[in-house]
């Protein structure tokens, strides 16, 4: 990234923060503490100990739920996408499930999975799975027939076919789904910790809010934002590497026609 682009990217945040800093400088309203207090609270609050006790468990649950959703979504997606019959059979149910906002499932999941970490992982997974699953179905279904014929002719089957044809051909769609799933995962991570939790980032922010520790609450919100940005950035790097062929092909204009 060039210096110019980097400067463009951080210019607005700097302006906003600077404005906030000066506007809030003399604030005595306890709901809107000065930014200087929030920054001080951030340094004081998010000590390595605190990070280990509150943030790491959150991220672990996020990772577990997200991974579960991706693995299940791709697995089921490949299965459903490969069979027109199965797809027609499942489609109405999938659409119905996708339409339900995941937070309303939390009480139901609590009944089944209890109130521990398992519940939170299941909540995250249950919300994230749909974009991955539906995009995988589309990707698997829409792969090029000529490539499929090529595999058949050369006897490429089984694991080799799955790895080199089905998953790779569907990967642009799968990764689009997984990107949507990542933002849902962060939202659900926080929401799952609002119910019956003993630790976690969402839980902590809620605690601060209830205890009128407003600067600390704000610092938690900031931390959540930072985590979101960091995850999105990491995701983008991974995607660019996985789909380098796809972007290359598109930029040379030699890709298969949309059919």
């Amino acid at each position: 990234m060039s210096v110019r682009r980097a400067a463009t990217a951080v210019a607005l945040p700097i302006v906003l923060l600077t404005a906030w800093w000066f506007i809030s400088a003399g604030s005595t309203d306890y709901q809107w503490p000065p930014l200087s207090k929030i920054v001080a609270a951030f340094v004081a609050t998010w000590t390595p100990d605190r990070l280990r006790s509150e943030v790491v468990p959150s991220l672990e649950r996020l990772a577990a739920g997200y991974a579960l959703a991706v693995v299940l979504g791709i697995g089921l997606g490949v299965l459903i996408g490969s069979s027109p019959w199965l797809r027609a059979f499942c489609e109405p149910v999938l659409e119905f499930m996708r339409a339900i906002p995941p937070p309303v499932l939390v009480p139901i999941i609590m009944l089944v999975a209890g109130i521990g970490d398992a519940m939170k992982v299941v909540v995250i997974a249950s919300g994230c799975i749909w974009p991955v699953l539906l995009n995988t179905v589309e990707g698997v279904r829409g792969r090029d027939e000529v490539l499929s014929d090529t595999c058949r002719v050369y006897g490429v089957r089984g694991g080799l076919r799955l790895r080199h044809l089905i998953l790779r051909a569907a990967s642009p769609q799968i990764l689009t789904g997984a990107r949507q799933a990542l933002s849902i995962a962060i939202i659900l991570m926080v929401i799952s910790e609002l119910f019956a939790a003993q630790n976690g980032l969402g839980f902590t922010v809620m605690q601060f809010s209830r205890g009128f520790q407003i600067p600390e609450m704000w610092s938690g919100v900031f931390l959540l934002g930072f985590i979101g940005v960091a995850l999105a950035g990491a995701y983008q790097l991974a995607e660019r590497w996985l789909l380098r062929w796809y972007h290359g092909q598109r930029s040379t204009g030699t890709g298969p026609r949309e059919s």
Partner: protein, 744 residues
């Protein structure tokens, strides 16, 4: 070894079955190179997929090395046409080649060696680590070939593998395939739509028939084993094979009942062509062969109602036609040209029998008609317009738009050329056409073109052929949908067309009569001049607009010229051009003959000397030479439209110019002289649309501008670039990014 026996494939879908392959049987021995060609849509790809085991045949069987094919057989590989879609874009070139080997569970070092060898064989060693999409189309197809080689198949199938690469790459790839085939000793089945490629590559060419598919011919290619792009293609045997395959494919393509000829009187049988063959309101009448009086068939007779209905249909159909791509329109015109070429003899016979032309002229007319179609096909490729200068900050464009429906009226004399020269370019440029040929020549003036364009795949409703009389003509000129009229015929009728057209503000292209001068200067080669003069006056019984109606000869050679011309005329045989070896055929009908004869007799009565001819037998009028004519004699002054050559003398070149220019017409002019520049200088002083120095007056080429001045018409509206102006409207278009601010 590949055996295909009794393969039949029927596609089932939505309550309708389509038989793609009817019954195919052939074998290809070990190491054979067999090319498969056939008309488009004949199921070549279906066949290939059945052999590859990608598609189960409905019945019959395919065996590879004796084993029946149920799925893709081992030891068989396929190179697809769509190289960009058959390579894995996420794998590097070497990995693409390697993947089939991995699935065959070969040891790693064997795989590496094979990949290296295969890439070296196609000259892509350096590209091993590139991704396919980083390569050109030709290189991508090389990768696909390398993958097939590395697999070491016993049978290799190729499905139009070079259809999508440029010509040079294609030649390289063809030679590459020949090398690979020799080295591997593989059985190669190569499907292509390109006849030349099939013959160049194959030891054998299988020609398939149109769907439902059968083997129409199994041809051995007896060319030397080592092929060379230049030498092999220049081999006379190559041309012979090519012609044979071509004829076979053509025979296989259209589905006609065998007992009917291409231009068969049973097709129209008292009908007209307007949205298919249909009965006309004006009834029907006989098509008479002037030489014998025999009935050649019956033609429908269109009246005003037929014309109005046809024009409305044409206007409707034209919208979609104007929106089709230029390539589609060009392809229709090219096929029309091909069909005329393929059925040239048949069409020539119609011209000869219907118009009374000699076979040579018939062949000429058919040749020009072919050329008109091909030229029109090229016209469709021309740019749509220009970018104009503008003093405003805007894009200012000239865009040519089709005019809509073009009305064409053609005469009886050379109807084929005079119809097609407007019909073909008008269609090519996106117009619809309503064509009214003369009632005496409905076939060569119209039905023949209807048949040609019907078979060439012109969409319905774009061409209407309505032979008719004055009522139909008037309806055509006044119809609201018809915006441009192209009329060829007599000057008096042309004037009437122009008047009517003007009232309806139409564009009217007129190519009318003439009384063309042929000037023989004192330094001309007289023997050649006589022969040219005879041709100019007597060809087609003088029934050509460009016929030389006035021979203007220098006094020093006058006697010699007249005597030789008369002698020439006496020796020209006149008779039925279809059955006899004659130079002149019949006049089209009795009315025309009587008109010719009255002009000749009144000229003789006025004091001219009848040097030859002047008599007739039925419709056969003897070639006639009138000597010592003066400028006020009828056969000199008027257009005769018969085989009559009035000869007048002059003493100075100024006199010759004055004589030649003294005519209401100005179509064609011929000056015969040893000094071509002098001829050209004289010609500059005489109004004429066409000038031939040292050639006679009757000439025509599709690429040349054609038309006369004065009473001969509205100038060169036909041929060459003139067609573009004749059949399009110019539209001025401007575009700007922002709406400019105006003072109020």
């Amino acid at each position: 070894m590949l055996e295909v026996s009794g393969v039949r494939k029927v596609y089932d879908g939505h309550g309708r079955t389509v038989e793609a392959i009817a019954d195919l049987t052939f074998t290809a021995g070990p190491g054979a190179f067999v090319c498969v060609v056939g008309p488009s849509g004949c199921g070549k790809t279906t066949l290939l997929r059945c052999i590859a085991g990608l598609l189960p045949p409905t019945s019959g069987s395919v065996r590879v090395d004796g084993h029946p094919v149920t799925g893709p057989p081992p030891g068989l590989s396929v190179v697809f046409q769509e190289y960009a879609r058959s390579l894995f874009p996420w794998l590097r070139v070497a990995d693409n080649v390697d993947l089939p080997l991995r699935s065959a569970r070969l040891p790693k070092d064997v795989r590496r060696q094979r990949v290296q060898d295969a890439l070296a064989a196609v000259g892509l060693t350096d590209a091993a680590t590139a991704y396919p999409w980083q390569l050109s189309g030709g290189m991508q197809q090389r990768v696909a070939i390398a993958r097939a080689i590395a697999y070491q198949p016993r049978v290799l199938l190729m499905d139009e593998p070079f259809a999508a690469v440029d010509a040079q790459t294609r030649a390289d790839l063809e030679d590459l395939i020949l090398r690979v085939w020799r080295r591997l000793g593989v059985t190669l089945l190569f499907v292509t739509h390109d006849i030349d490629e099939a013959i160049y590559l194959g030891q054998r060419v299988l020609v398939l028939s149109a769907s439902p598919t059968r083997v129409a011919e199994d041809l051995m290619v007896d060319l030397p084993d080592t092929r060379d792009q230049l030498a092999t293609r220049a081999d006379p045997r190559f041309a012979e094979l090519r012609a044979r395959v071509y004829a076979q494919i053509q025979k296989a393509s259209p589905q006609r009942s065998p007992e009917m000829t291409f231009f068969d009187a049973k097709t129209w049988e008292g009908q007209v062509y307007s949205g298919g063959w249909t009965v006309a309101h004006g009834g029907d009448m006989a098509i008479v062969e002037p030489a014998t009086g025999a009935e050649l068939g019956r033609s429908g007779v269109a009246d005003g109602q037929d014309v109005v209905r046809a024009a409305a249909t044409a206007a409707q159909a034209q919208k979609a036609w104007a929106a089709t791509s230029f390539e589609e329109r060009a392809a229709v015109l090219r096929r029309a040209g091909q069909l005329i070429e393929q059925n040239a003899g048949d069409l020539r016979n119609w011209v000869v029998r219907e118009t009374g032309a000699v076979p040579g002229l018939g062949d000429f007319a058919v040749g020009v008609a072919t050329q008109e179609c091909y030229e029109a096909a090229a016209l469709a490729h021309r740019p749509l317009g220009e970018i104009l200068q503008s003093n405003q900050p805007r894009l200012s464009l000239l865009r040519r738009m089709p005019v809509g429906v073009v009305g064409v009226i053609s005469p009886f004399n050379v109807p084929l050329i005079l119809s097609v020269r407007s019909v073909a370019p008008a269609l090519a440029l996106g117009n619809a056409v309503v064509l009214k040929p003369d009632l005496r020549t409905p076939v060569s003036g119209g039905f023949a073109l209807a048949r040609v364009f019907e078979e060439a795949g012109l969409p319905d409703g774009l061409l209407h052929v309505l032979p008719g009389g004055p009522e139909a003509g008037e309806a055509l000129v006044t119809d609201r949908y018809i915006r441009v009229i192209s009329f060829t015929g007599a000057s008096a009728t042309g004037r009437r067309v122009a008047e009517l057209g003007a009232r309806h503000l139409k564009r009217v292209h007129l190519e009318l009569g003439g009384n063309s001068a042929l000037i023989v200067l004192d330094d001309a080669d007289i023997d050649r001049a006589v022969s040219a003069g005879a041709w100019a006056s007597f060809l087609h019984q003088g029934q050509i607009c460009m016929t030389a109606g006035r021979h203007i000869v220098h006094e020093s050679v006058f006697e010699r010229y007249t005597r030789a011309l008369a002698e020439h005329a006496e020796h020209l045989p006149v008779g039925d051009p279809f059955t006899g070896q004659v130079a002149l055929g019949p006049i089209i009908d009795e009315r025309q003959r009587d008109k010719v004869h009255s002009l000749v007799t009144s000229t003789v009565e006025a004091g001219a000397r009848l040097a030859a001819g002047g008599s007739f037998d039925g419709l056969f009028y003897k070639p006639t030479v009138l000597a010592d004519v003066t400028t006020d004699m009828p056969a000199y002054e008027q257009e005769v439209f018969g085989p009559v050559a009035p000869v007048i003398r002059f003493s100075t070149t100024d006199e010759a110019v004055a004589l030649a220019a003294d005519s209401g017409y100005g179509l064609s002019l011929s000056i015969l002289t040893a000094d071509a520049m002098r001829g050209l200088a004289l010609a500059d002083q005489i109004p004429s649309g066409i000038v031939h120095i040292n050639d006679q007056t009757v000439n025509d080429e599709a690429v040349a501008p054609f038309g006369g001045v004065l009473d001969s018409g509205t100038g060169a509206r036909f041929g060459g670039a003139g067609n573009l102006d004749a059949f399009t409207d110019q539209r001025w278009i401007t575009l700007r990014g922002d709406i400019p601010a105006y003072p109020f």
